[in-house]
Amino acid sequence: MKKKVVVLGIVGLAVLSVVALLEMGPRPVDGGFACGRLGLPGNKVAVVYLQGPIAEGRQSMSTSATITPRLVEKYLDKLEADPSVKAVVLRVDSPGGSVAASQAIAGMIAEFSRPVVVSMGDMAASGGYYISAPADRIVAMPGTMTGSIGVIMSIVDLQGLYDKLGINEQIVKSGKHKDMYRRTLTPEERTLVQNLSDAAYEQFVTDVAFHRGMTVDRVKELATGELFLGSQAMELGLVDSVGDLDDAVNAAAELAGVESPVVYEVPSPIFFVNILDLIGEVRGFLRALTLTPEERLLWRLRNEPAPELRY
């Protein structure tokens, strides 16, 4: 009898504990108790961390700290489907990156149905600023490095390295400029690239002007590629206020009309590492070990992404 009581007591205690945990829900993150109880919506302000350079592609082991359109889409789709999320704070810490990826992300943020506030971290420059611009409000730290509105494109001329290694690359092409990114640019080609850069620059300043309610001319005055501190950016109208993450959460709650917000830090999506990606990365590492320094440099440069315009 005693044995039965002890065993059933342990099992019963375990079951009752689970029922109690289910009933209570998760511990509130930041005071209050508006969310978490099973099935009940709350007044959440979701905080999403967007950190790293902006690029296309998917997350892998070597690009886990990259902001990609796919990553942002995952976050925003989930938050859009959650009725308890009343507003979103994006904690942006990025030096910028790919033009097209920045535009895709900015488009998603602009289309999000609930208030979005950007809280800038150490740096939200160039593309980092571009994706912040569509937010309903931008809050920067006084020392945040932001701005750097402009476009850059770098083209590596490998000819000298080829000569040093004794490699004679033979190119057969159809199209006058098809090989222009594999050698030194001619003056005509430099003008072509400059035109591309200027067009992307126009898109940048036009979009910033639209989202920030500024004139294109005013944005162009600021769009010299210059970095500004958060406090300077506020005076220039590039950000709305100076403050930390808590201030951004309060701003988001205010925009959403939420009185007692519960801060919900959205966990990073778990990326199952594709076994082929993993093999590829190990393979790359092993290969790099077997190369001479010159070969390693050549391999790295040849595997660099194609020349791209970058915000």
């Binding site: 375990a14 511990r27 099973l38 099935g39």
Partner: protein
């Protein structure tokens, strides 16, 4: 010698050596599986209850049905089966003389005290930082207890010394990691050799 399910479960707490030896001899594999699966289901449900089930537009009940039942029960049973298989093979390498069914049963029963982790989890959720710290210490102690019971279960099921049982557990824990790493390294090296042979960068 304890002879019924309540005798065995009580014995795991009060006199684990005799109880686990009896379980290894009688091999109640169904009960062992029920303990492992039940514990997995309860732990998964408790874990999910703390993971904000209200989020992302799906109800908690749907999540429990869709995730905890297949994930917590079936997967844990499969993982347990495979894990005991590896442990059994390792034990044979270390000179063990037991059966798979005996080990399966004994290690399953040795998990029973882990049920106490759930009240500890509740305690941590209810209390402040001090109680939370106490619950963490309690959970750590409980984990050590369950691991020790697992070693006793292995020792009694395979008639080994305590040292050999500990060595077997460590070895069995290393095997899966070593196999996965070995496969990845092997494939990567083959791919590198093929790439180098083809002259492609």
């Amino acid at each position: 010698m304890p002879e019924g399910i309540f005798d065995w479960l009580y014995g795991v707490i009060a006199g684990p050596v005799e109880a686990l030896r009896a379980v290894a001899e009688r091999r109640p594999t169904g009960w062992a599986l029920a303990i492992v699966a039940g514990l997995a289901a309860l732990s998964s449900t408790a874990g999910m209850s703390q993971a904000d089930l209200g989020a992302f537009g799906r109800t908690a009940v749907e999540r429990i049905v869709h995730t905890v039942l297949p994930g917590g029960i079936i997967l844990s049973a499969v993982v347990y089966f495979v894990g005991i298989g590896i442990l059994h093979l390792a034990a044979l390498l270390f000179g063990g003389k037991g059966t798979f069914a005996g080990l399966f049963s004994a290690v399953g029963f040795a998990q029973f005290p882990a049920m106490l982790s759930l009240p500890l989890m509740l305690l941590g959720r209810l209390g402040g930082p001090a109680v939370g710290a106490l619950a963490i210490v309690g959970s750590a102690g409980l984990s050590i207890w369950v691991i020790a019971l697992g070693v006793i279960a292995l020792r009694e099921a395979h008639g080994m010394s305590t040292g050999a049982a500990i060595g077997t557990c460590v070895f069995a824990a290393i095997i899966p990691v070593a196999v996965i790493l070995g496969i990845i390294l092997l494939v990567a090296m083959l791919a590198t050799m093929i790439g180098a042979a083809s002259g492609a960068f």
